[in-house]
Every structure is written in C-alpha cells, then in structure tokens.
C-alpha cells in the first residue's frame, strides 16, 4: 500500500516536472518508432523525444526577429543566404503591408533555410530534423501513427493537389493532432534542418540506391506496404528534393524544435 502510494506520487511528480519544463508554445513528442515510406521493413526509425512548436512561425513572430536582427531584413540580407524573393509578400523591411492584420497570424513563408535556422537559433532552438518532422506529422487527431488511416491520408493528399490560396489563413484553425500540434498538414510546406538529405534528382526515374522505392512507389505491387500514405510522403520528399538552402518559396515556412534535456 505504502509502496504503491510512493510510486504514484513519483509518477505524478514526474508528470508535473515534465509539464513544467515544457518550453513556451511547444509540446513534447514522445519517443516513437515509425516507418519512413522509402524504407524496407527492417528500416524503421526511432526518434528520441523532442519538443516541437504547436504552430508554424507566423509573420508577426518573424517580424520581431528581423527587428532584433537587422542583418535578416529584406534589404540587408546577404544574397548567399536568401535569394531575391525573400519575404517578398511583405511591403518593406519591417512592414507587413496593407494586409498586415490579415497575415500577421498567418505562417511566415518566403524564408530561406538559412533565415529559418537563424530564427530558431535566436530563440535558443533549432529546426526539427526530417525524421522528427515526419514522426510528428504522421499523427492524426486520434492516433500517434496514422499512416494507414485512409481518411487522414486522403485529407493530406487533397491539400497537396490544390493550388495555394491568395493569402494564407491564420495558424491554428484546424484541429490539433494527437500531440496537440496544429497545421503540420493543410497549410504550408515546412523546412527541416536536414532538408538536403533527400536524394531526388530532377530525374526521379533514375534515382538509385537506398531511395529506389521513390519511383517504385508509383505502384509496384512487390512493395506491398506502399500505399497512399506513401504517396503523400512521396510528394513531401520530392518537394524537399527540389530545394536549395537559399530558396524563398511562397508556401514554404517552418517551425522550431528543441531537444528534451
């Protein structure tokens, strides 16, 4: 009896502790194992626990960043870190333009990988790794790993095949997923720290080696677990493969992550 009470207290303390340590605006994604779509069966990936932003970084938040870091203003940024279209949807260095009210809570886009990385660093954080992002994003509203949930997957696919709206809606308008994270799907693409580990060349049909399944996923019956889920992931990987670190893309933003101490 006494022993049980002791254990329960310990667990409760532990819970309280971890809740208290939660960084602002982030939630913990517990350690988990998932199967990246290009893997063969014994290639599941275990991701250590980490914190991830509940929402993508917004225009207003990014504005604070460039205010504090003049070298990341549109007119001052070094071209080696961001190409011409950097923050092109803003009216000026510190001016969100006539749509300011409408877009300040929208995710910031047209930011290069270098800029996203600098923002995260400024916040004392980092960009999530590709595997961390994919793990967090494989959660539906109900399940941590929902890759086989047809409805979940179809919703993602539908978004991928629709053009962008004129102005992006605010973050957080969709339901949070299992982890309490919003907008991993259905709003923007997101940078990951190691985006350049994707070996999809322009000639996808000739991509060789470990990522052979990239093109086999187009319907090879041999790979039985290749299904629509993989198609959604396939599109994401192909998108990442088309990027370079200085690109500024109209529907590409980011969120930050942090190690669990």
């Amino acid at each position: 009896m006494n022993k049980a009470f002791y254990v329960v207290t310990l667990i409760l303390c532990g819970l309280w502790f971890s809740a208290a340590a939660q960084p602002d605006g982030m939630v913990l994604v517990e350690q988990d194992t998932f199967m990246p779509f290009y893997s063969s069966n014994d290639d599941s990936i275990t991701v250590k626990p980490f914190y991830l932003d509940i929402y993508p970084v917004t225009n207003a938040e990014f504005l604070d960043f460039v205010k504090a870091n003049p070298e990341w203003r549109r007119s001052r940024v070094k071209s080696v870190f961001a190409e011409d279209g950097y923050l092109k949807h803003w009216a000026g260095d510190l001016d969100l333009g006539p749509n300011a009210e409408k877009i300040k809570k929208s995710p910031v886009t047209n930011v290069s990988w270098f800029a996203a990385r600098a923002y995260a660093k400024w916040k004392g954080r980092r960009l999530p790794s590709l595997n961390e992002w994919e793990l967090a994003a494989s959660a539906s509203e109900e399940k941590p790993i929902a890759g086989r949930d047809k409805k979940f997957v179809q919703k993602i696919l539908d978004w991928y095949s629709r053009p962008n709206p004129e102005t992006l809606p605010s973050v957080g308008r969709r339901e949070a997923n299992y982890h309490g994270i919003h907008d991993l799907h259905g709003l923007i693409w997101e940078w990951v720290g190691d985006f350049n580990t994707v070996f999809i060349s322009g000639e996808s049909r000739a991509d060789q080696g470990e990522l052979k399944q990239f093109y086999c996923a187009a319907g090879s019956s041999a790979a039985s677990d290749i299904d629509k889920e993989n198609y959604a992931a396939f599109l994401r990987y192909a998108f990442r493969g088309s990027l370079e670190a200085d690109f500024s893309v109209g529907n590409l933003g980011f969120r930050t992550a942090k190690d669990k101490e």
């Binding site: 095949s161 053009p163 322009g202 996923a217 198609y231 599109l235 192909a238 088309s242 690109f247």
Partner: protein, 482 residues
C-alpha cells in the same frame, strides 16, 4: 591527247563541284547536328486544339521556349472540376513547333503559387531524362537548358517529377513537333488533339471538385478518357472545323498515363498516317494505335460535309468515358462521293426465312403496379438506353440529348414514346441545346416501352406520370411525332 586531258580535268572539276555542292547545301545531306544556327526567335506556343503556323525558315535558329507550369482547378466535365497541373495553363500543354537542327533554349517556369516542384521530359531530346534532370524546378523558380533538335517527328513531353504517375495523371503532358528541314507538305487545316485519362474519386459525372484516386490509377481503371483535357472539349461550337475539300492534318498524342488509344475518325479514312509520329507513312488507315507517351500525325481530305466524330474506338471509352470530339465539315454536298440516305423502306425478303422472334416468346413481365413498371423500366433503361443517355440520364453533350430534367420529354411524354418506337432524326431542342443526331427505332414491346418511359418520367428530376401499353400502341399507330 590534249582533248583527253581536258576532258579529264572537266570531269574532275565537275565532280568536285558536285561533291562540294551536295556537302554544303544539299538537303539530303542536311546535318541537324552541325547546321548553322542563324539568329534567334521566341517560339510561338498554342493551346489545344490550335497548332502554331508551319515554319517558313529554311535555316536552323536558336528557338527560345518559355513554358509556365500552372496548377489550377479546371473543368473536366459539366459540373465536374479537377485540379489540373498544366504546362502553359491548358491540358494538354501548349504545342511547341520547331525545326530539325534548331537549338532550343527551354525555360521552365514554376509559378510561385504552385504547390509542387515540376520538371519536363521532352521525348524530342537526346540526353539524360529528356531534360528532366536539368529542369527540376521548385515553385517560384525558373530553370533553363538547351537541346538540339536532331530527330524530326512528333513527340510527347511530360512531367517526370516524383511521383511521375501522379504528375502525368493530373494533366502534365503535351506535344512538340520537330519539323523536318524540308518542312511538312502543305495542308489546309492543322489541329492538336491529345487523349488522356483521369482517375477521380467520384464516378463519371459525379459533380464537384474531384480528387485524384490513386487506386484506380494503379488499376488502370479511369473514370474519364478524354480528348484535350475535358469531356466535350471539341464539341458543338468548340468543334474543330474544315471545309469540303480541305486537307486536314491532326497532330494526335496520347498522354496516358496508362491506356493505348485506338484513334479513329468516324466516317473518314486517313489518307496518310505517320504512325508513332515518325518518318514512315502508312496509307489508307481506318484506326491507328497510339501508345501512352506516343503520337501519330494523320492526314485526310474532308470530301463530304457533315459532322465527323473523333473517338477512341475502344468504344466504351468514347460513349461512357468521354473520348469524343467533333470535326464539323462545311460546304456543298458531293453525291459523287457520298449520297446520303436515298431510300428507307420496308424490307421483306422472299420466303421470309429470317423473321423477328415472335414477340410472345420473349418473357416480358407484365407490370401490375406503377412501382413495378418503374422497376422493370429501369432494367430496360440500363440495358438499352444507358449507353448513350448515360446512367444518370445526362446524355452526352452535343451528341445524345439528356433524358434527365428534360423539357422535351416532360412537355409531351408521347415524344418519348415516339422516339423509342419510331426512332428520331433531325433537329430537336432539349433544355435549350440543339441536337441533330439519329436515334434508331428500338425493338421493344409496348409493355417494355411503357415501362421505360414511365421509369424516365419518375426519375432524373422529371415530371412524373405513367405511360401504359395502350398509350404506346396509340403512338405506334399515329406515327412519329416530334
């Protein structure tokens, strides 16, 4: 001696002059790889069914092609839309016309509002990936590569970004023509026609924005097989046209992604087919096979005025999935080639060896109630009428009038009876659209006709009511009405 030497010299000079002449300017020895590039120009691109004008140049040039990739919602059929991924804003993509030997500087622009990276594989390219590798382009970017048009012919181009099948299934294909150095024979009309399939979640005709359905693409079971990107893209006032006596050339491609087309024009014989888009010509062809990712150039003379229907002769694709288009030929009739109907009379062979089966022998259920009538009528509709008037009664625009919500039928149900028992030809107007086709007389009993017309009246948003076998008999006696 002197003469002989002179003669030798003469021959020698003559021969060497000939040699030089042919080496430098002879068209048979035109070498597209080394032909001199003179000047540069912007390629004129056209949306289907139009084709840029023939190339007048007799030299190779630097040809600049600017092609923009646009992802947008477009019409797939009436009331049905689909998010198309397009080369140049149309499906199929813009037509590119170049000349053998041209140095083609290709600019691929991915619109900033697009969601996905794209590239282009032109089958006219000699080089890895057909340009795919050099044109992998993120949204809001432009890539450039240059290739030399070494092989004349009609080639497909398409997107080859992973997942390739999905990019093609969503509309990313088109045609590029490399004219031979000596040009193509002159014709009066040229058109661009490309067949392809669409795989949607909803069934054929199901309204609204239809998402792509992966499984049916893998199963190669499309809901839509269409020419130029949508059902009815070349029907009625959008029909392609020619005049009597015109020489017509169709540049026909097949974007796939899966099916091979059995391309046929009803009522025409192709005088010439450059099958597979290559040099060889087959003459007098009825139907030509066009593989996915392949093409053909077909030529024919439109001798007789009238409407000619382009189909995939795998015929259910034409009448049930949308692979129909119209070539409208205007001009004076020429009875020397085609007379039109000259006679229509009762045919009674002597001896009467072949007869219709006695009607009594067919087991036709007799409907006791209007519900039964509707139910039996539904069966008859599905087996007899649905192929043309479609399962949902919507018909096929420009070819077969709708029986759904049909003012023609509701105003006077006897018209429906008459069409079934007497057949129907000549112009009629249904829901504001004019149709000018032929419906053959159907070999059905009075009971069956009563059932099917009653089924129609009580379905598809029609006005309701019942038709009895007696009504049918009356209309049979009375003769055709419109």
């Amino acid at each position: 001696m002197g003469f002989k030497r002179d003669s030798n010299l003469y021959t020698l000079i003559f021969a060497s002059a000939l040699l030089i002449l042919s080496g430098c300017t002879g068209s048979q020895d035109f070498n597209p790889e080394t032909a001199e590039i003179i000047g540069e120009q912007q390629a004129e691109l056209t949306m289907p069914p139009n084709v840029p004008p023939p190339i007048e140049r007799d030299n190779a040039t630097k040809l600049i092609v600017n092609m923009e990739v646009v992802e947008k919602e477009m019409r797939l059929a009436d009331g049905v839309t689909y998010t198309m991924w397009t080369f140049g804003g149309s499906v199929p993509g813009e037509f590119i016309r170049a000349r053998e030997g041209d140095m083609i500087e290709f600019h691929l622009q991915n619109h900033p509002d697009n969601k996905l990276p794209h590239n282009i594989d032109l089958h006219a390219v000699n080089g890895p990936g057909g340009g795919a590798e050099s044109t992998f382009t993120a949204p809001g970017r432009e890539t450039v590569f240059t290739f030399r048009a070494l092989n004349p012919g009609l080639y497909v181009y398409h997107c080859a970004t992973a997942p390739v099948g999905m990019h093609i299934a969503n509309g990313m294909y088109g045609l590029i023509l490399i004219e031979p150095a000596e040009g193509l024979p002159e014709v009066d009309k040229e058109y661009y026609v490309m067949q392809s399939e669409f795989y949607t979640e909803g069934n054929y005709g199901e309204r609204g924005l239809q998402p792509f359905d992966m499984q049916s693409a893998i199963d190669e079971n499309p809901e839509y097989v269409v020419f130029n990107g949508s059902v009815g893209s070349m029907m009625k006032d959008q029909s392609i046209t020619s005049e009597r006596g015109d020489k017509v050339r169709l540049f026909v491609g097949n974007g796939g992604p899966n099916l091979t087309s059995s391309f046929h024009v009803i009522g025409e014989i192709f005088d010439k087919v450059h099958y597979e888009g290559g040099d060889h010509v087959q003459t007098n062809v009825q139907t030509t096979s066009i593989p996915a990712g392949g093409s053909a150039m077909v030529e024919f003379e439109t001798e007789v005025p009238g409407n000619y229907i382009l189909v995939d002769h795998a015929i259910f694709r034409a009448f049930n999935k949308g692979a129909l288009a119209t070539l409208a030929v205007s001009g004076e009739e020429d009875e020397n080639v085609y007379t039109g109907q000259q006679l229509d009379k009762v045919y009674q062979p002597e001896g009467g060896a072949i007869q219709e089966l006695p009607k009594e022998e067919r087991t036709i259920p007799t409907a006791e109630t209007i519900e039964e009538r509707i139910e039996f009528g539904r069966e008859t509709y599905m087996s007899v009428c649905q192929a043309c008037h479609m399962a949902d009664g919507s018909g096929i625009e420009g070819a077969f009038p709708p029986v759904a919500n049909s003012d023609y039928l509701n105003e006077n149900p006897d018209r429906g009876i008459s069409a079934v028992v007497h057949g129907l030809s000549g112009e009629i107007t249904v829901n504001g659209e004019t149709y000018n086709g032929i419906m053959p007389r159907q070999n059905l009993t009075n009971e069956e006709v009563a059932n099917v017309v009653t089924y129609l009246l009580n379905n598809f948003d029609n006005a309701g009511g019942e038709v009895t076998p007696e009504d049918v008999e009356r209309v049979r006696e009375q003769g055709p009405i419109k």
